[in-house]
């Protein structure tokens, strides 16, 4: 016969909730609370996140996220690849913003190599990054609304997301795992009809965002579930390493695109939406406004797109184009060398931070002077944001946990890597 609560629960759960009652021997007669496992297979955890909750009736007393179910050892794999072979791995970290991952990694390595990227490539990178942000926010909005119970919005969002994925397919040949960026530029020129298609999409997009807002913003159920739920103060957000829209929704005016610009972001005009409230509703508002800003940046990038090369001039680093490779001996040698031996990167270490749809994505790349990275570490926004989950949910109702998880927009692929 079990003598304590510990005997009744799964092994491991007592470890997960540190400092909870589970560590002491509690008289079952005095036992008023219950331990609940949410996930790893739960529709509202957006992947395989397991949250262990201690609940008293409907209210949450303690909560601990348990992660690692998607750990694939990408950082270890990077160390065994050439620098250029790491690009496709980065797509798989955060599958909702592949272009942002590509960009961050490429910028970091370009910094080590001290490569000058042509303006045209920078503009196209910005354009595609903003489309990626729209893509990611659309998935966030759709799934967040679906968790709360508004199923219609999901279908509307995925309608527009489909168009973005088709645009990605046009440039990269792939819908999700694009791997379109290269160290030193882009893999190829976008096709001619790409520009019109993006232009048309950006023309209709603001109306569509207004349409989603129309479905949600005034909806009493949506307001009831989101307002005054999951508060996070600015001080807590900074202490817990929260970045991106959740940080700005807590009143901290910080956006890497504006404050520490990269890839030519200083040339674009846009606002950074900030809210002082810090609840789930504020995060919703900030992200909705961000979508309008993304459209603005993308239009500027498209209309101001300069002519020129899409890769830096660095024949020993960037693969020559096909025709050159077939006609010029030197290009053929370069091609052969890059493919078989990679290229050496000067020893050093860099950290490159980028504002991804979820917050600050940083790549820390250490080179020892060989053709393979000595160490690649990814600082992913969701990983830090997840730590704030307990602060946001403690003392609230169990149903609010679902709203809060939706609002911090985590991707388990980048948490577990």
């Amino acid at each position: 016969m079990p003598t304590s609560v510990e005997d009744l629960i799964n092994p491991g759960v007592d470890d997960v909730i540190a400092d909870s009652k589970l560590h002491g021997n509690i008289d079952p007669a005095q036992d008023q609370t219950m331990v609940l496992n949410m996930g790893p297979q739960h529709p509202s955890t957006h992947g395989v996140l397991r949250v262990v909750l201690e609940v008293d009736g409907e209210s949450v007393i303690a909560l601990a996220p348990d992660i690692g179910y998607l750990h694939t050892g990408i950082e270890k794999t990077c160390e065994a690849k050439f620098y250029q072979q790491v690009v496709p791995l980065t797509d798989r970290i955060d599958y909702l913003c592949p272009m942002t991952n590509n960009l961050t990694y490429c910028l970091a390595v370009e910094k080590l190599l001290q490569l000058e990227i042509p303006e045209r490539a920078q503009y196209l990178r910005v354009l595609l990054n903003e489309l990626t942000r729209l893509n990611s926010h659309l998935v966030w909005l759709g799934t967040h609304a679906m968790d709360i119970g508004a199923l219609t919005v999901f279908l509307y969002c995925f309608r527009e997301r489909e168009e973005i994925l088709r645009i990605f397919e046009m440039v990269a040949g792939q819908r999700m795992m694009t791997s379109y960026f290269r160290i030193g530029g882009l893999s190829m020129e976008p096709p001619i009809d790409f520009y019109d298609r993006v232009r048309n999409f950006l023309k209709i997009m603001p109306e569509k965002i207004a349409e989603y807002e129309n479905l949600l913003t005034g909806n009493p159920i949506w307001m009831g579930r989101l307002k005054n739920v999951g508060h996070l103060s600015a001080a807590d957000a900074i202490a817990l390493g929260v970045t991106g829209p959740p940080l700005r929704a807590s009143g901290v005016d910080w956006d890497l695109r504006r404050d520490m610009p990269y890839s030519g972001y200083e040339k674009f005009k846009f606002d950074v939406p900030v809210s002082q409230v810090g609840d789930v509703w504020a995060r919703y508002e900030v992200r909705m406004k961000e979508m309008y800003e993304s459209v603005k940046i993308a239009i500027q990038a498209l209309e101001g797109l300069p002519e020129g090369r899409i890769t830096a001039v660095a024949p020993k680093i960037i693969l020559p184009d096909r025709e050159q490779m077939k006609t010029q001996m030197e290009s053929l040698i370069h091609h052969f060398k890059i493919v078989t031996e990679g290229f050496a990167v000067p020893a050093g270490q860099v950290y490159q931070g980028v504002e991804s749809p979820r917050g600050e994505m940083g790549y820390y790349v250490v080179s020892d002077g060989t053709a393979k990275p000595f160490r690649v570490h990814m600082r992913n926004p969701s990983f830090a944001t997840l730590q704030a989950l307990e602060t946001m949910c403690k003392g609230r109702l169990l149903a609010d946990v679902v709203a809060v998880i939706g609002s911090i927009d985590i991707v388990l692929g980048e948490i577990d890597r």
Binding site: G68, G241, Q349, G362, Y364, H377, Q387
Partner: protein
């Protein structure tokens, strides 16, 4: 992009006005400015004092804790902290070398609770022990896993 590289003596001389250099001038054992990034090496016993000093100097946001394994050279592990300042709009990288004879370092979770998951990750994947951490358990690998996968002497395919 300026290619200036400054070594320890030059950093102390030319960047004395930099808040991080000023705050750590008595603690640092090495400093380097390369590729527009400032790296300051501090002894591992002083890491908590060092992060408190940079926090007081205006570096308010802990971005990242990670580790680099320089096997077989010693000190083998370089625990690396990236700290950002929202007001100065710049970063500083603190490095604390940890030798393999004593794989432990103090936890900075009291200064920044955000370090919690990051230190668990370093513990899990490198086997560096963080003293004073509230909940130092594996985070990525299963609890009963043997070995620390990101070490350089751990094969990419795993042990068979």
């Amino acid at each position: 992009m300026p290619a200036t590289t400054l070594e320890k003596a030059e950093v102390l001389e030319q960047m004395a006005a930099n808040p991080a250099v000023a705050a750590l001038s008595s603690l640092l054992i090495d400093a380097r400015f390369a590729l527009n990034e400032l790296t300051i090496t501090v002894p591992k016993e002083q890491i908590v004092a060092a992060v408190k000093a940079v926090q007081a100097a205006g570096y308010n946001f802990m971005e990242d804790v990670t580790c680099v394994d320089w096997y077989p050279s010693e000190p083998r592990f370089h625990v690396t902290y990236h700290i950002l300042s929202h007001s100065l709009k710049e970063r500083v990288r603190l490095v604390a070398p940890v030798g393999s004879e004593d794989l432990s370092i103090d936890s900075i979770t009291d200064v920044w609770p955000a370090a919690n998951f990051y230190e668990r990750e370093v513990f899990d994947l490198f086997g560096v022990h963080f003293g004073g951490h509230p909940n130092l358990r594996r985070i990525m690998m299963p609890d009963d896993w043997k070995g620390h996968p990101l070490r350089k002497d751990y094969p990419v395919e795993g042990y068979r």
